[in-house]
């Protein structure tokens, strides 16, 4: 557990003690000082603790550990360790092109609670299906909308290795079409091997040294 979480838990514990103290000794509010204490203990600090807790949970939901905590996501996590450079997520993950502890969120920035209201609703739907519905097979899980090149260009746009790559210059319009999201990076026989979880049983896996 990181230091931020520990500080937040400690702060929340103090607010709990104060709130329960006000509950047990409500007669304190007869005095002016007690009224002020009640306002702080039952209004200001709980609101602050709630806001800080929500922020912490939002931050945690961007972590790889959070995304892979549902069993159905296990294969997608495994696909990050495939020992094959043609697997785009694996090559990004293994070479630190995305932060490993925020790997999913870096490439899926508009997913579930970080997208619009429809994406948030889907996030709630995912939790419902995980515990109350029929969980699909990992290979049957697809994105709701085609992958947006914006996620790739967030890092690659302007990079020399991207703009001067010979296969990106075969067609003079290619980079413009990619920038306009009219030509997907993931299709057209270019970078079309992504998670491909249905092929994992035949794959070999990279083992990190630490």
């Amino acid at each position: 557990m990181d230091r931020t979480s520990l500080i937040l838990i400690f702060f929340t514990a103090i607010v709990v003690v104060l709130a329960l103290l006000m509950s047990a000794r409500a007669e304190l509010t007869r005095a002016r000082g007690g009224k002020m204490l009640a306002f702080v203990a039952l209004c200001i600090l709980p609101a602050l603790a709630m806001w800080a807790g929500a922020n912490e949970h939002m931050e945690r939901s961007t972590r790889t550990q959070f995304c892979l905590s549902c069993h159905v996501m296990h294969d997608f996590g495994q696909s990050l360790y495939v020992d094959d450079k043609s697997y785009i997520p694996a090559v990004h993950f293994q070479n630190n092109r995305v932060p490993r502890d925020h790997a999913c969120f870096t490439c899926h920035t508009d997913y579930t609670m970080f997208g619009d209201y429809r994406a948030k609703w889907r996030g709630v739907h995912h939790v419902r299906v995980q515990y109350l519905g029929t969980v699909p097979k990992p290979a049957d899980i697809k994105l709701y909308t085609p992958y947006n090149n914006r996620e790739c260009l967030h890092c690659h746009a302007g990079a020399r290795s991207y703009e001067e790559a010979s296969h990106h210059l075969k067609d003079p319009n290619m980079l413009a079409l990619v920038a306009a999201n009219k030509l997907s990076c993931m299709s057209s026989d270019c970078h079309d091997i992504v998670h491909d979880v249905d092929t994992l049983k035949d794959a070999t896996f990279w083992k990190p040294s630490n």
Partner: protein, 77 residues
């Protein structure tokens, strides 16, 4: 009499806030979608209800004070 009602509301408010925050604290021990759902659907509503009950008790107190000052109790001389 009004004081007792207000203190009773403050007691309930403290319990709601306390229980809500304990649930929120427990969810912080776990990085999982269910922890987030418990935080949002159980912890936050309890804390919000406690805060609102406390604020309502303040409003009720000010209303009780106003009505007492407008209609002071006549004491026999």
């Amino acid at each position: 009499m009004a004081g007792n009602f207000i203190e009773r509301r403050i007691r309930w408010s403290g319990i709601l806030v306390g229980v809500g925050l304990i649930i929120q604290m427990l969810t912080l021990l776990w990085t999982h979608p269910l922890a987030f759902v418990a935080f949002l659907l159980i912890g936050c509503p309890l804390v919000a209800a406690g805060i609102l009950l406390y604020l309502y008790s303040l409003v009720a107190l000010s209303q009780a004070t106003e009505s007492t000052s407008e209609h002071p109790v006549q004491t026999p001389r």
